[in-house]
């Protein structure tokens, strides 16, 4: 991660901007939006180690004097799925990428989904973080 940031700095103009955009190290929330409103079903279990390593890498390049942090914000980012099947497919892919099993959460969503009326959407939401780093132009 630190090497990638060094590469990013190398190709940047001396006063250029580097944006670090990624999910904040917070567990995602899963809920269902229906005619009755939004109902939160549960929280996903995730290994957040990589996020902490990424934070550490950013701190390191700032300590090295390559960048200064100018602004940091967090905001919500939703993934919206129309059917249980869509959610199931997405969850399988998520687990295939090395994340812990989400069986218990899937069962709760499968249990709640048929009980809700009207058009339903499954929403996975998590804050994203965006940090603006200014290139200080040192090598």
């Amino acid at each position: 991660m630190v090497h990638a940031l060094h590469e990013g700095q190398r190709v940047l103009q001396p006063d250029g901007i580097l944006f670090d955009l990624r999910p904040a190290p917070v567990h995602r929330r899963v809920g269902i939006l229906s005619d009755a409103g939004y109902q939160e079903i549960g929280v996903m279990r995730e290994d957040l180690t990589d996020d902490y390593f990424a934070n550490r890498a950013v701190k390191q390049v700032m300590r090295e004097g390559l960048f200064k942090s100018e602004k940091y914000i967090e905001f919500d980012c939703n993934r919206v799925m129309d059917t249980l099947n869509d959610f199931h497919t997405w969850l399988l892919d998520f687990v295939d990428r090395g994340n812990p099993s989400q069986d218990s959460l899937l069962q709760r969503v499968e249990h709640a989904h048929p009980t809700l009326r009207g058009r339903k959407k499954i929403i996975v939401s998590a804050p994203l973080m965006l940090r603006r780093l200014r290139n200080l132009g040192q090598e």
Binding site: M1, H3, A4, L5, E7, G8, R10, V11, L12, Q13, P14, G16, I17, L18, F19, D20, L21, R22, P23, A54, A57, V58, K71, I73, F75, D76, C77, N78, R79, V80, M81, D82, T83, N85, D86, T89, W90, L128, L130, R132
Partner: protein, 98 residues
């Protein structure tokens, strides 16, 4: 599968609020299928977008609207070794890739 990521476009609104993108030369690292690339191009930037996954790059090229074809280039590659000369870009975006 129907999956919509960030239908509210919060991501691009946040990026727009943090820089002037018009006419800027931008490198997006981790572009995936080009979802965010198209939105950055729409802000008026000239975008080089890369991802290590060649299949996603192929998808990104297919899904790029013709109106952005002069301003966006997709390339398979790793952030560990950027094949660009020194001081090429005004803005570098690590998009879910750090």
């Amino acid at each position: 599968m129907t999956l919509r990521i960030d239908p509210e476009r919060n991501e691009v609104h946040a990026l727009k609020g943090m820089a002037d993108w018009r006419g800027k030369r931008v490198l997006e690292i981790g572009c995936g299928d080009g979802r965010l690339t198209r939105r950055i191009a729409n802000l008026g930037a000239q975008v080089d977008a890369m991802d290590p996954d060649r299949k996603l790059i192929t998808t990104a090229r297919k899904e790029l609207p013709a109106r952005y074809s002069e301003r966006v280039r997709f390339k398979a590659g790793s952030a560990q070794e950027l094949k660009f000369p020194k001081e090429t870009f005004d803005i570098v975006v690590f998009a879910w890739s750090l």
